[in-house]
């Protein structure tokens, strides 16, 4: 089996190499397989119309496999010309290994603020290696029709949040919250890092953790786990085996009332759900408290340093950094908020709601992404496991925090 597979691989690589010789074709590596049609129907045609002679192929792989697949392709020299960049260390490592080209001198870089670029720079900020595309904002999407039917309004404080959940549960016609622990990452990304910033006070807590002034066992970092532990009672039957697509479907089919979300869900939900949707930011402890949101610099695009089509690739990247692309992308994919300094008009009401939180709340990024996931054990991956365990009730919030802290301290100097 392995033998035939390898032979098939060899043959296809040879044939593929021979076929790609003439017109300049740029291949984009990406994990956004959900966006395939948008790239093919909207973004790529717009670029190709303006730049004859350059063809672009969008070749995504599954999100959970992307990093592994990309690393192997880069090492084998078979990766595409353009690489969609994960934020922070995953891409930084690729740059350090010489897989990503330095793009600091690209004209379009002037269109981005230092904060937007920070996720794709060396630690000293000397080199930028990916063109920022978008950030995603966390919060909760709710079924507005269901809320109206039950006479509920979007909660702002923690107390109201549980009151709403209790009311939905008591009524019984909807599952209060659509989330499962089978795939684990939702528990960490849409759970822990969604509600967490309100407890660890956004950037303040995140920076303190990086500097070693706070520990994961401090109240601000354990409290979100305590909240997650309470979620268990509001999830659907058999949530332990519920996958991410299951949760999406439960919500869009109108069977669940609240969905702990990332803004990237908006376009998919708009297409699937036939009820009115609303969104609210993670609830705060008391009314009037400063709210913090996870506004995570999530996606950028860089150039394979070994690309034979460097000239064409830079042309494409310059275009990605333009306001034209920003408008196109933000409207084709509501929920991916442009990082471009030029303000972008968005027509989607749900996307407008999400982006409006930037005005009243403090923005931060996911706590585990910068620097803290450089070692083994990897803090981000451990957080997936810990968050899922806490929701299932298999581990207490304190024990989970203890374990994460021990893992981090085992390799991260400032935390020792």
């Amino acid at each position: 089996m392995t033998k035939t597979f390898k032979l098939a691989l060899l043959t296809s690589t040879l044939l593929g190499g021979a076929a790609a010789a003439q017109d300049v074709t740029l291949t984009i590596e990406s994990w956004r397989n959900d966006d395939l049609t948008i790239w093919q129907d909207t973004i790529i045609p717009a670029f190709e119309a303006a730049h004859p002679g350059i063809k672009v192929v969008f070749a995504p792989s599954a999100p959970a496999e992307y990093n592994a697949v990309l690393n192997s392709k880069l090492q084998a020299g078979s990766a595409g010309d353009l690489i969609t960049c994960r934020p922070f260390d995953a891409s930084l490592e690729l740059y350090n290994q010489g897989h990503l080209a330095d793009l600091s001198d690209l004209g379009a870089m002037a269109n981005f603020s230092p904060v937007a670029k920070s996720a794709w720079q060396t630690d000293d900020g000397a080199a930028t290696f990916c063109v920022p595309m978008a950030s995603v904002i966390h919060g909760f999407i709710y079924n507005a029709d269901a809320f109206e039917q039950l006479g509920l309004t979007a909660p702002t404080t923690n107390e109201e949040f549980y009151a709403v959940l209790d009311a939905i549960k008591a009524d019984g016609s909807y599952i209060p919250m659509a989330m499962g622990t089978n795939d684990q990452w939702e528990a960490a990304t849409m759970g822990y890092n969604n509600i967490g910033p309100n407890f660890w006070k956004g950037e303040e807590g995140r920076q303190a953790l990086i500097k070693g002034e706070q520990k994961l066992t401090d109240e601000g970092w354990v409290a979100p786990f305590r909240e997650l532990a309470k979620w268990k009672d509001y999830l659907g039957d058999g949530f332990e085996a519920q996958t991410y697509p299951d949760s999406q479907n439960l919500f869009t089919l109108g069977r669940a009332a609240i969905y702990p979300a990332g803004s990237w869900e908006i376009s998919g939900f708009n297409a699937q759900a036939d009820f009115k949707m609303g969104a609210f930011p993670p609830p705060v402890a008391a009314a009037g408290d400063t709210c913090y949101i996870s506004d995570h610099t999530d996606i950028a695009i860089g150039m394979n340093a070994k690309s034979p089509n460097a000239e064409a690739a830079r042309t494409f990247l310059d275009w990605v950094g333009s306001p034209e692309f920003a408008t196109l992308y933000a409207n084709a994919l509501p929920g991916f908020f442009s990082l471009n300094s030029t303000a972008v008009e968005m027509s989607d009401p749900l996307a407008q709601e999400f982006v409006s939180w930037r005005e009243k709340c403090q923005s931060t990024i996911r706590s585990t992404y910068q620097i803290l996931s450089r070692g083994t054990p990897n803090l981000e991956n451990e957080t997936w496991n810990a968050s899922a365990n806490v929701i299932r009730g298999a581990e207490t919030p304190e024990a989970a925090a203890e374990r994460l802290q021990a893992g981090l301290a085992s390799w991260y100097e400032p935390q020792k």
Binding site: K3, A68, S72, R86, T181, G238, Q242, W384, A394
Partner: protein, 306 residues
């Protein structure tokens, strides 16, 4: 005058393609991996020889060794389920199929064998859907016979996930021991059976006393195939539970542990050196297992000549 034996070129010529392909695709990578497990990066990112340091880390550092022993224990349980469930059922099915009175034997044989030729991906997704607490047909079917209370999200519970997956794998592969034993049963000469019947040994006692001893070598081969297959398993767990082998690593087997380490996962970057160390350990485990079988069991099996 001594007659010189002609050089028999044709042997080399006929062997060459297989030897070349096998060497290029199996032997060189195998030794490459074993060699890589003795290397690591130094501070400048250069590849250096580090001796057994990777293995010392794998077995000495609690972060690595806990994960390794957990994967090995899960893998052993995975194997035990196959030995206790798959192989006895396979033998029983073969025994039933080989009874001459059974009608539609060819149909049953095919139906039971078909899952074996399905892709892991199909099997994984189909069973995930069947067992899904939300859309699955398992809760509905149990409800129809009044046993709804027995249903649980099996794949999502630490206590049951691994056993469930092992049973799915058994469902998929039960056709293989069945076919091998079936062939072995058919090759027992009629004279032996007739002689047994003359001596008054029929029915169950005929199976236990005559047929089973004759098919023991086949059972041995099946056991070793199961062992090698199980300790190399990866696909089903990966398809059903992902590379993190949830819940809480309760379905993590050596294959998924190797994948996560070698290729990396999400923010965890791949570490080919530690990955090779794990692959080397897997190779060692399988080698030891096969050797125990070959020298400890196979040589003691009695063979019967007809």
């Amino acid at each position: 005058m001594a007659s010189r034996k002609p050089v028999r070129w044709h042997i080399a010529v006929f062997l060459a393609p297989a030897v070349l392909v096998y060497t290029a695709l199996m032997i060189i990578p195998l030794f490459g991996t074993l060699a890589q497990s003795l290397m690591n990066k130094d501070a400048t990112g250069e590849r250096v020889f580090v001796g057994l340091q990777n293995f010392a880390r794998l077995f000495g550092d609690a972060i690595w060794s806990d994960a390794f022993w957990n994967a090995l224990a899960n893998n052993t349980w995975f194997f035990v389920i196959h030995m206790l469930v798959q192989n006895p059922i396979g033998i029983a099915l073969a025994a039933i199929l080989s009874t001459p009175k059974l009608r539609m034997a060819a149909f049953y044989r095919t139906a039971i064998f078909i899952p074996t030729i399905l892709s892991f991906v199909i099997v994984g997704f189909v069973w995930k859907l069947i067992l899904s607490p939300i859309w699955g047909i398992a809760p509905g079917m149990l409800d129809a016979v009044g046993l709804k209370f027995l249903f649980a999200p099996w794949l999502g519970r630490e206590e049951t996930a691994l056993t469930t997956l092992a049973l799915v794998s058994v469902w998929q592969f039960v056709g293989i021991p069945m076919m091998l034993i079936y062939a072995a049963l058919l090759s027992i000469p009629d004279e032996v059976i007739e002689a047994a019947e003359m001596d008054g040994i029929t029915g169950w006692s005929q199976f236990w006393k005559i047929k089973l001893p004759l098919i023991l070598p086949s059972i041995g081969i099946i056991s070793i195939l199961t062992f090698v297959g199980n300790f190399n398993a990866f696909d089903l767990i990966y398809v059903a539970q992902g590379a993190l082998a949830g819940p809480d690593f309760s379905t993590d087997i050596l294959g998924t542990f190797l994948y996560r380490t070698f290729f990396g996962f999400q923010l965890q970057l791949g570490d080919p050196y530690m990955g090779s160390a794990i692959a080397g350990s897997m190779f060692g485990i399988i080698l030891v297992g096969v050797c125990i079988y070959l020298f400890g069991i196979q040589t003691r099996l009695r063979r019967y000549q007809f």
